[in-house]
């Protein structure tokens, strides 16, 4: 049929001969399955079933999953030729997003691929070098040559710790394997940090220390809970389909602990659940009060605790004579935290912080609601404990990292959660699980340690701030805006790069190399930024070299979602210009440096090599690669055959499958009739009720398959003394002044459904930018009125009291790394920060609290966040910024009916 011009009132249908591949969403942790049809421009299918690739008659009916919205159709290049593209949530999916459910983010994926004249035309296409202040194209060879020569100089002259990387931790196994192989195996640098934190290590140390692997549950496990306790997240906003498909079910009671009423909260309250509208940063006190109520009333799951929770001897077993120099060992065995149930109960019942009246005052949550929540998660009904599951995310662990996560895990364990269907504990996740480590982080070289022989991972921002980093390779992240005290960090980068007198003036390798060597020797820094778009300010202003990366749809990639589901993200279009996958770029550099084993011929090569280094982990897919080899195909090819279902890691090979059909079809399986045995996925970790049989062939059975991930296989309770946090919390609590204008408010932040991450793709899609054209801030009417602020006003939020830690790498005396200790040692500097936003006046937000989009790169709220990490875990308290807010004008959106809306999001 003739081509139909795409527009807002029609979409071309894929013709019968359109090429079909499967993939999963590039964005959130849930990773919905998608089908992609690609066909040349100039052709179109017809509305009759026999005339289109979907095989259905148009118009299609409700909930068919087969409608193609205008945003689900796009354009791309295939072998240089213009093609149509339809990216449709898989209507045939039976897992993750059954029936083609999807989020607004994934539903716009068709707008992502590159076209030379479309909204993504500004994709990076060539390596660039900053010459005379301007970025000019250079060849890959030239760019790699300069990087390698300068790197060699930095390593020889300034040491491995002066050479660092700041990269995504999630953007596909093939790339992160290459990154970690370079950083940790070849260079062995401790100067590394993932995209969302100042250094490597646990995200939720308290959950890990309890023995719970944070992505141990499957989405089906959540669907079997009676009660879901959400801490610091509304998955509706950010893990959408996990929520709409597996959690938003009649009869389920949801409890939300958030400072802000969201869509999910509205649904919860409508369906018998609870909203605990908390004062930011006080979750630990809430958890203690809940635990105390439960234990006082005898609602704790005593049978579960007796069989599954470690006693004192078990906590100490195996570690009494060891060095206890890894973070989890010393935290667990220190005596300050790890506790048997009896020790925990005695500590809790004598702890004033856990008293209900105190908790009401500190958390701002009415005592009656705390009592109701305790009953809901623990009080037996007809002698049965409720099936309660516990889900947490960044509102919990980015406000008080260790104490919040440890107290949350303890609360869950005493309620009997952790390892059974409907009774699970997990992060809900942000990005997908795309890290595949080739080697361990070389903690031994880290400049940081706790008191005693307790090595700690680096705080890379502090390392930069103190002038120790001379070469920074930044991959796929907006470093400055993503980290605390953003404006300060930007200034440091600007000073050490563009502020240097040593600037490249000619597009010549020898000249560039000489100049950059002079710069690093003079105390400056060289920055390489590798990304898909020009990203400010790191890529556009500070970088000396900018490298173009290929991304989703432009290469065969793999990774897991939030239930460890491994899938192939198929290539279906050309990368722009000379853009290359990150693993390829790493390989070019490593080979130029003379490092071994980087001679991969394609991404499957990397995938298969990486398999050998993940055999001990929860993302182990090595048996799949072995099975594929026996079949005579590649690992990627076998994964391609598993489509959008994929297979849940760890993958197991068995001579005969004994799992039920339902288990197999959920977890994923492949049984080739001509190959001995079969492979099957793993639905749940810590699955004590399942008989996994003997490990066969390449299968690895770690103890966490059937037990908790602690030294004894039991869950570990933790005391969480508020005094570990209270000095910092008191110091950063907003200060009240004589006038509202001078009074400070909490500034906290989070994600909004319609925007993925830094909105790097969404800001190139008018549909998304119409909805959210600008950073915004939610403010309660009680705070807005006295300041004369109305919805649609342009406001400025400023903090002249941003705390920045300036030293304290090495703890020597007890207490020296606490906030008080740092302040007394003169290691806290006071700086400033601010950002602009469009005000949304709403009762959804708690009085005294402002709420913004966490990662608006033009107006980052991290500017008003203190750069003083949790001393126990080196994690920032991103959610605990503060500032004064004032009106600076009216935005056009106040009256313009075309963009932005100020309607409440919590309607029922």
């Amino acid at each position: 049929m003739p081509d139909t011009p795409p527009s807002g009132s029609s979409v071309p249908l894929p013709p019968k001969n359109a090429k079909l591949v499967t993939t999963a969403c590039d964005y959130c942790i849930v990773g919905c399955g998608y089908k992609v049809w690609v066909w040349p421009e100039g052709q179109s299918g017809g509305p009759k079933a026999e005339d289109n690739a979907l095989g259905v008659d148009f118009p299609v009916g409700e909930l068919s999953g087969q409608w193609i919205s205008p945003n689900e159709h796009g354009h791309c290049l295939v072998d240089g030729e213009a093609h149509h593209l339809v990216v449709l949530p898989d209507p045939d999916a039976t897992v993750v997003n059954p029936g083609g459910n999807h989020s607004i983010r994934g539903g716009c994926l068709a707008q992502k691929p590159f076209t030379p004249d479309g909204p993504t035309k500004d994709r990076l296409q060539h390596p660039l070098m900053r010459v005379g202040g301007e970025l000019v194209p250079v060849t890959w060879e030239q760019a790699i040559d300069v990087m390698a020569q300068v790197s060699r100089h930095v390593l020889d002259r300034h040491g491995r710790s002066a050479w660092g990387m700041k990269t995504f931790s999630y953007q596909y196994f093939e790339n992160t394997y290459a990154i970690s192989k370079l950083a940790f195996e070849s260079i062995e640098t401790p100067a590394y940090a993932p995209h969302d934190k100042p250094g490597p290590g646990n995200d939720t140390a308290g959950i890990d220390d309890a023995g719970i692997i944070t992505f141990s549950a499957s989405y089906d496990d959540w669907s079997q809970a009676d009660v879901l306790f959400f801490s610091g997240t509304d998955p509706y906003e950010t893990k959408t389909v996990a929520w709409t498909e597996w959690m938003m079910r009649p009869g389920k009671k949801h409890i939300y602990v958030l400072p802000r009423r969201t869509t999910g909260v509205a649904w919860a309250e409508e369906n018998g659940g609870l909203f605990l509208q908390i004062i930011p940063g006080t979750d630990t006190i809430l958890h203690l009060a809940l635990a105390r109520l439960i234990i006082e009333n005898g609602w704790h799951d005593a049978d579960f605790i007796a069989g599954n929770v470690a006693n004192r001897w078990e906590i100490d077993s195996g570690f009494g004579r060891g060095t206890r120099n890894t973070p989890w060992q010393w935290r667990t065995t220190w005596g300050k935290f790890g506790a048997s149930f009896d020790e925990y109960r005695d500590w809790l019942l004598s702890n004033r912080d856990a008293e209900l009246s105190h908790a009401e005052k500190v958390t701002g949550i009415p005592a009656a609601k705390i009592e109701a929540a305790a009953q809901m998660i623990a009080k037996p009904v007809d002698g049965e404990h409720p099936k309660a599951s516990f889900a947490l995310e960044k509102g919990n662990y980015w406000s008080n990292n260790y104490l919040n996560t440890a107290s949350y895990a303890t609360l869950a364990l005493i309620c009997g959660a952790g390892n059974r269907p409907g009774r699970v504990v997990s992060r809900m996740g942000g990005h997908q699980r795309g890290w595949y480590g080739a080697a361990s982080y070389p903690r031994i070289f880290s400049p940081e340690k706790q008191v005693g022989r307790r090595k700690k991972e680096i705080n890379l921002d502090l390392w930069v701030e103190s002038g120790n980093l001379r070469f920074a390779w930044v991959i796929g992240t907006t470093w400055a805006q993503s980290m605390a005290a953003s404006q300060e960090l930007m200034e440091t980068f600007r000073r050490s790069t563009r502020g240097s007198e040593h600037q490249i003036e000619q597009p010549d390798v020898d000249h560039a190399t000489d100049v950059l060597k002079q710069r690093v020797d003079a105390g400056g820094m060289v920055v390489v930024h590798q990304d898909i778009y020009p990203r400010g300010p790191m890529g556009t202003e500070f970088a000396d070299l900018v490298l173009p990366a290929a991304t989703w749809g432009e290469e065969d990639f793999t990774r897991c979602n939030g239930e460890r589901r491994l899938r192939l993200y198929s290539k279906f279009c050309d990368p722009p210009g000379e853009a290359k996958p990150d693993w390829w770029i790493i390989a070019q550099f490593a080979q130029r440096m003379g490092f071994r084993d980087y001679d991969w011929k394609d991404s499957n090569d990397v995938f298969e090599q990486a398999a050998r280094f993940g055999r001990q982990g929860m993302l182990n897919y090595h048996p799949l690669v072995v099975y594929a080899k026996q079949m005579g195909i590649t690992g990627h090819e076998l994964l391609r055959r598993l489509g959008t279902t994929g297979i849940q890691t760890p993958v197991r090979w068995r001579t005969e499958l004994t799992e039920s059909d339902a288990y197999q079809s959920y977890a994923g399986r492949y049984d080739d009739p001509h190959t001995p045995g079969a492979i099957v996925g793993t639905k749940r970790l810590h699955d004590a009720q399942r008989d996994f049989g003997e490990p066969e062939g390449p299968t690895v059975h770690r103890k966490w398959l059937t037990a908790f991930n602690s030294q004894t296989g039991k869950g570990i309770l933790h005391k969480t003394p508020w005094s570990e946090f209270s000095d910092f919390y008191e110091r950063i609590t907003p200060r009240q002044a004589a006038t509202p204008e001078e009074s400070e408010l909490w500034v906290t932040m989070g994600r909004i459904n319609e925007i993925w991450q830094s909105n790097f793709d969404g800001k190139r899609n008018a549909y998304i930018t119409d909805r959210w054209p600008h950073q915004f801030v939610e403010i309660h009417p009680d705070d807005a009125a006295p300041r004369g602020i109305e919805s649609g006003d342009l406001v400025r939020i400023e903090n002249d009291d941003v705390l920045v830690q300036t030293g304290g790498f090495v703890g020597v005396a007890g207490g020296s790394q606490s906030y008080t200790g740092l302040e007394q040692a003169g290691l806290i500097r006071i700086s400033r920060g601010g950002y602009e936003a469009v005000a949304i006046v709403t009762t959804a937000i708690r009085p005294g609290v402002l709420w913004s989009n966490a990662l608006d790169t033009a107006n980052p709220p991290n500017s008003v966040v203190h750069r003083v990490p949790d001393p126990i875990t080196n994690r920032y308290r991103f959610k605990l910024g503060k500032g004064r807010i004032r009106k600076i004008g009216e935005s056009e959106y106040k009256t313009d009916l075309r963009q932005m809306t100020f309607r409440p999001r919590d309607l029922t």
Partner: protein, 195 residues
Amino acid sequence: MPTTPSSLTGPCLGDCLSRRHFLAVTGATTATVVLGDVFPGRVWGQDPQTPAELTTLSRTPIGRLSELQADVPVMFDYGGENAINTCMLVKLGEKAGGGIGEDQDVVAFSSRCTHMGGDIEGIYNAQYKVAGPCPEHLTTFDLTRHGMVVAGHATQALPQILLEFDGDDIVAVGIVGLLYGYANNPTLGNAPDSQ
């Protein structure tokens, strides 16, 4: 294809005369217009100046202004009689993008959620002028701002039905946006009830 009349290049908000003029000029079932001018903010991943299609249908009287009560939606079928052709006419009592009438507050929209086609017929929040939440996955749409998603998963704003007055009659004359379920908006030629 007809060119865009110059009267359409100004602000469109409640500018019913411009649209009437445009429709009178074209007299076609579909026409290419600079959609960014007709309905600013309703352009899908394209430059606002990109020509896009506005579907015009037979002029269908859907109600009388004198009988319309504020905040009481009136349902009507448009472009066919399938379940997915149900639309909602409502007098919002508040100025709205594309609204007609003295207060520019009379608007009409499709009643099928553009996420997965959930039925939002009659689900209308009078206080906030919002359609939804869709019972399937809770998407909401702001009817004062061209059916923009307030919160949720739809990958297109709620299709807006262009309205005109013919005396007291409210007449539906076209659709901006793609109706849920369709690959091409129903026109006189391809509406299901005409096949």
